[in-house]
Symmetry: C2
């Protein structure tokens, strides 16, 4: 990579990703009537598990809506954590529309993975911990799906009062934030194509698009091959199992896409929930 680099291993969090940080904080803010009716979320996976786990821990019912091609392993986990799961629609946008109908009919509170200040504040505790553990971190590289994590981490960086470079990483096949920053407003992608299902949000949050231009230094794009290479590197050299989204920051660093200066650099490894076949293929690729 060219500079001392640390990994923030969020794959060790309960449910296997950083997502419970936002969900816990959001659910803690519900009032009694909201708690009784329950929460709903639409997610490809890690957010689903996080909401399911956090809701059950708080004694709140939860419903998770996904599209038809979402990985089954993550739905199984969400049900195991106590959620009701529903598959609706062929695409993330169709699932989102179906979720909105259920939300309205049942008066549920939507727990969003991004585009929510409370949730982003929860996700931002990742950044607070990074700067507590490594006060001289000069560059932090953050995978970007909907943008909740990078917003929270960038806010935590700003709170240090030091100059910290914040670099976002998106898949080439799901450049949600890249498009939004170019357009100056969220752009709904008609389709996404990436092995990083955790970064396949179809649209960036309004909040992100408003706040991130002044907080983020660069957003770079990685290919599926770069993600697989990074998964293999993490498994065989760092001995951790990252999902494709979780390997995105490491992929950008290994591919030379980030100007690391003299470091120290921090790569946030956001999660480790991956279909066995996918990690096996990445590990054995030449």
């Amino acid at each position: 990579v060219g500079a001392p680099t640390s990994l923030k291993l969020e794959l060790f969090q309960k449910t296997g990703s950083f997502k419970p940080r936002g969900a816990l904080v959001r659910i803690a803010a519900l009032d009694a009537a909201e708690r009784a009716r329950g929460v709903i979320a639409v997610s490809a996976g890690n957010h689903a598990q996080a909401v399911a786990w956090a809701a059950t821990a708080a004694g709140v019912p939860s419903t998770i809506v996904t599209w038809e091609t979402a990985p089954e392993i993550k739905l199984i986990a969400a049900r195991a954590y106590g959620a009701e799961t529903v598959r609706a629609g062929a695409t993330p946008l169709e699932a989102f529309a179906a979720m909105q109908r259920m939300r309205t009919a049942r008066q549920l509170v939507l727990v969003q993975p991004s585009d929510d200040e409370i949730g982003a504040a929860g996700a931002g505790t990742v950044g607070s911990e990074v700067f507590e553990d490594l006060p001289d971190a000069a560059t932090v590289v953050v995978p970007v799906g909907g943008g909740g994590l990078i917003l929270g981490v960038a806010a935590a960086a700003r709170a240090t009062g030091r100059r910290v470079r914040i670099i976002g990483v998106e898949p080439e096949g799901a450049p949600t934030l890249t498009r939004a920053l170019a357009a100056g407003a969220p752009v709904a992608l008609q389709s996404v194509s990436t092995i990083a299902d955790g970064l396949s949000a179809p649209i960036a949050g309004e909040l992100q698009v408003a706040a991130l231009p002044s907080l983020v230094d660069d957003v770079v794009l990685v290919t599926d091959d770069m993600l697989r290479d990074a998964m293999r590197f993490l498994a065989l050299r760092a001995k951790v199992v990252a999902e494709p989204a979780g390997a995105a920051a490491v992929a950008a660093l290994l591919s030379g896409l980030v100007d690391v200066g003299h470091g120290p650099v921090v790569a946030i490894v956001t999660g480790g929930n991956v279909e066995p076949r996918l990690v096996a293929e990445a590990i054995t690729a030449s």
Copy 2:
């Protein structure tokens, strides 16, 4: 498992296993003439890398001897850490004999993975850390190859002044310690057959066989299938890549071979250096 269980993740140590602990302490005890001539070791892998790395860090030349079927990935790593590597003999016992000839001819100091009080004291720091982190640990489950680690951990347990159960785990196909304890003396196995190359030592150390009967509560045997199941569990649930030897303690616990009582239980995950094919097969096995 039936009781609260913690993993001691030695796969994150430099060189990917706990082995540098013993090698560093042993090499630090060399005199100037010994340092100049160098050290030699015979190893299937992790001890080789540990000796290579520790010797190079101390400015001491090292030679690593292995048998012909040892995994190439570990020899590559030993050379990258600065060692000369030699393949000699079809079996571990033949490689050991070849090492003794080289050792005598070149007046090298043998760095043993076990059967050495200084090395066992180094390995025992694993145990010291376990009891520092988890002072009420009631049972510690330890993979056994030559027995250096379990001796050190058992000594650390004794030093706590509390009653701690120490359980050893060997592969069915390499029951070195089991045979030695039954015979009351080290027994050279004519052949070993296990996917856990890290536990394929052909003979237990004299030191172990003398000391362990009063220090160890039980030694249990695991099959290759149990090791693969534990590797899969560790990869998909705990998000870490363990080699077969590293998964042995978890295999014994998941298979119900250990009476865990009310816990807390500690499983020592000794290393994570594994051929990519082997971990991919374990992860995708049904």
